[in-house]
Symmetry: C2
Subunit: 265 residues, 2 copies
C-alpha cells in the first residue's frame, strides 16, 4: 500500500532490485492482478508475502450484512493461503450507523472470530487483529488499543488469533510496551508494522501516515519492544500518504528502504 501506484509486477521487480525480501499485499490490487497470477509471480520472484491486508469489518448488526462480511472474510482467508502468507490482518470495523455502543460492537467481533478462527486454522492462516488509532473508533475500528485487541484475541488459540503491532496506531499509549510483552509471551504478535506520526493530519485523517523518520515516533524504541517480546518475524512499512502516492513509486520504495535502514535497523 505504501507504493500502491506500482502494479504487482512493478512492485515485485522493484523489491528485487532493492533487496527487499518480502512484501505485504492488499486484497484489491491482488484481485485486480488475479490471486493465482500474483501468487505465481511473487513465488517465482522469491518474495515472501508477509501479510495479506485486510479482512475484518465485522461489526454490522444487520443479519444480511453480517453474513456477507463473514463470507468475505472466508474468501480473504482463502486468498491469504493461496498467496502463501500465514497472516491475514483484520481491521475490525466501526460503529453501525446510529449506534453508540462500542462494547456491543466489540462483542460482535468476538462472535465473528469464533467462526473465522477455526476456518483460518484449517487454511494455515493466523488472524491478526489490528488496533487502529482511537481517532478511527467510530468509523473504521472499534478496537483502539493493544489491550483491547489482546482481550479479544486471548479468547482464542494463538495459532488462530493474534494482533498486529503498528507504531502509528499505538505510539501515544504508555501501556503499549507492556501489552507488546503480553502479546509476545502468548505468541500473538503476528506482524509488526511501521509508520510515522506527522502533523497536521489531513482531512479524514486516513492518508497522513508519515514516512519513517519524518515524525514523532522512535522506531528503534518500538522495534526494541517487539524484539524483547520475542518477535523475529518480518517488519513491514505501511504508509497511507497522498504525497507519497503522487510520487514515482520506485523512488518512494527506495526512499522507504533507506529510511528503514537509517531509523529502524
Amino acid at each position: 500500500m505504501t507504493v500502491k501506484q506500482l502494479s504487482i509486477p512493478e512492485l515485485a521487480d522493484a523489491c528485487l532490485e532493492l533487496g527487499v525480501p518480502g512484501v505485504g499485499l492488499w486484497r484489491e490490487p491482488v484481485r485486480s492482478h488475479g490471486v493465482e497470477a500474483t501468487a505465481k509471480l511473487v513465488r517465482e520472484a522469491g518474495l515472501t508475502v508477509t501479510t495479506l491486508c485486510r479482512g475484518g469489518f465485522l461489526t454490522a448488526t444487520d443479519p444480511a450484512e453480517r453474513v456477507a462480511a463473514l463470507a468475505d472474510n472466508r474468501r480473504a482467508v482463502e486468498e491469504a493461503a493461496a498467496l502463501g502468507t500465514e497472516v491475514l490482518v483484520l481491521v475490525s470495523g466501526g460503529l453501525p450507523a446510529g449506534s453508540r455502543d462500542l462494547g456491543a460492537a466489540r462483542e460482535r467481533i468476538a462472535d465473528a472470530l469464533a467462526e473465522l478462527g477455526p476456518y483460518a486454522e484449517q487454511h494455515g492462516v493466523r488472524l491478526a487483529i489490528e488496533p487502529l488509532h482511537p481517532m478511527f473508533a467510530a468509523d473504521r475500528c472499534v478496537v483502539s488499543t493493544l489491550t483491547q485487541a489482546l482481550d479479544l484475541a486471548e479468547r482464542f488459540p494463538a495459532h488462530q488469533v493474534g494482533v498486529t503491532v503498528d507504531t502509528y496506531h499505538i505510539w501515544w499509549d504508555d501501556q503499549a510496551p507492556a501489552q507488546i510483552a503480553r502479546a509476545g509471551a502468548g505468541g500473538r504478535i503476528h506482524t509488526f508494522q511501521l509508520a510515522d506520526w506527522t502533523t497536521p493530519l489531513p482531512a479524514g485523517v486516513l492518508n497522513g501516515r508519515g514516512q519513517i523518520g519524518d515524525g514523532a515516533i522512535d522506531m528503534r524504541e518500538w522495534r526494541g519492544y517487539v524484539e524483547a517480546a520475542g518477535y523475529t518475524g518480518p517488519i513491514e512499512v505501511e504508509l497511507f500518504n497522498d504525497a507519497l502516492w503522487a510520487r514515482n513509486g520506485r523512488e518512494v520504495l527506495a526512499e522507504t528502504a533507506e529510511r528503514f535502514l537509517t531509523h529502524a535497523a
Copy 2:
C-alpha cells in the same frame, strides 16, 4: 468557545435569556474585554464562571520558554481567581520540535505542577489536567488518557490538581469509566465537559467537535459515570466547530441548550 462569535456582553445576555446558569470562559476573549470588566459583568449578571480555559503548554525544554510558560500559567491562575472561578483547565502541551520522548515531556509537566499547584492553592484555584484525544499527542497534549492525567494529578493534593473529564477525548477508552470512578473517589473531577464525536474529521482535526446528539457518544452514559463517582458540579458543553462558529451565536447557544436537555439531561 462554543459560541466564540458572541462578545462577552452578548454571551452573558444570551445565557440569561436562555436560563443557562454558568459559563466556561477562555482567556483570549476575557483579556480582550478586560479581566476585571468581565468579572464585573458576569457577577452582575448572576452567572457562575464554571472554569477558565486554559493554562498549560508546560512541555518546553528550552529554559527561556519554560520560564515564560510558568509565568503565563501564574497569570492564568490570577485571572481565574479574578473571575471568581475555582477551576483552571490545563492543556499540557505537545512534544518539543524534534523530540520523540513522550515520557520525558510528561515528567516536565509534573515538574511544572509542583510549582503551579501551590500557587493555585494560594489563589483558591484548582488545576484540572485535561487529557486530550491521542490524535493530539504530538502537537498539543502528551497526556492522552484519564489514566495518565490521574497518574500526574495524584502526585499532588486534590485541592491543587485534578482532571477535566471531556467526553470528546475519552469516549473511545474502555478504561475511562473506571478512571472516572478513581478520579471521583479522590475528589479530582474538577470539571465535566461534553462534545460529540462526528466524522469525517476536518484537516488539522481541531475544529470538528460535534454538536451534542450528532455523533457517536452516549452523553447520558458518561454523565452517569461522573455522577456515580460523586460529581455534582457544572456540566460544560465545549464545541470547537467551524460550522457552528459560522452561524448566529444566539441560535447556536439555544440549539446547544436544547440538545443538552434532549441528550444529556
